[in-house]
């Protein structure tokens, strides 16, 4: 799976939680999930669990803590699927 494909899927997942309408055109790897997308911090675990389901990976608590931006999420997924 390429970085681009992972990015698209991540955007799709984030869309379910963000109060804003987001697409791959209006967000970047540096976009903050909490601040820029206005996603409640309590929902971060749900998002990471969706990553697990969508990419068939397992993420532990410490890895989940590293996810702050869209890029963090994409990189974590790439690390896990490789």
């Amino acid at each position: 799976m390429t970085r681009e494909e992972v990015f698209e899927k991540v955007v799709e997942i984030l869309n379910q939680y963000s109060k804003k309408e987001i697409s791959k055109e209006n967000i970047s790897m540096e976009t903050s999930i909490l601040e820029d997308l206005e996603i409640n911090s309590a929902r971060l675990v749900d998002i990471v669990l969706d990553f697990e389901d969508a990419f068939d990976i397992e993420v532990d608590d410490d890895d989940a803590d590293t996810v702050a931006t869209v890029g963090d999420g994409v990189n974590l997924i790439l690390k896990k699927i490789q």
Binding site: N40, A42, V45, D46, E58, V59, D60, D61, T66
Partner: protein, 250 residues
Amino acid sequence: MNDLKFKERFALKIQYMAGWVTLPFWSTLLIALMRFVGRYRIQHLREIRRYYKNLKRTVEGPILLCSNHLTKIDSLILNWSLASTWSYMKSFKIFSWNLPERANFYQNYILRTLCYVGSCVPIDRGGSREAVKKSLDKVTYLLRKGHTVTVFPEGGRSRTGRIQEDKFTYGVGRLVNKVSNCHVLCVYLRGHNQKNYSDIPHKGARFYMNMELFKPESAYSGLRATRDVANQIAGRLVRMEQAYFAAAGQ
């Protein structure tokens, strides 16, 4: 597994000792303020204290108190309700540590001192991950050492006056899963005239308090277990709130 350095563990021990030694002074002062200035009363205080005393005697393992959150002094009221100053003098371990928001309670010298002796571990909500993790590591350590800790799983005072399940932080689930044999005491606390959130309870408040002890178990592991346990706690607190309003005829 210990995530704290010796220096940090030692600092907590010193804080604990300082709190215990000075307890009669600040506890008397705060209780007097609550009783005579706030004119607060706890309904069924004797039964509540008997229940808590019995719990501490019979439950093996640490107890994490999870409460709804409507005012900035909820943790004070909780500690006042659960045992007398004399009981805390005899066993200060039953006095609950808590995690106040640094921005709210560490702005002046007096509050800082009271928080220090009053067993507080400040937390920077929305702060750096390292800082938040450090605070959580401290309370994890304290729980493992058999201390009692209070957390407000909504992460702040409810803006609606009711428990906000959607605001529930999963950190509470992680805390429970990191501490073996951890029991959760769900507490529903509310002043009779408390319609919404506020800084302090309204004058003359009579506090209703209900408690339910349980030991969360999850069939999952990792993050799913964290979420599952947090949801179990949230579910209990919501049911306790529903029971309160049903009894009040609302």
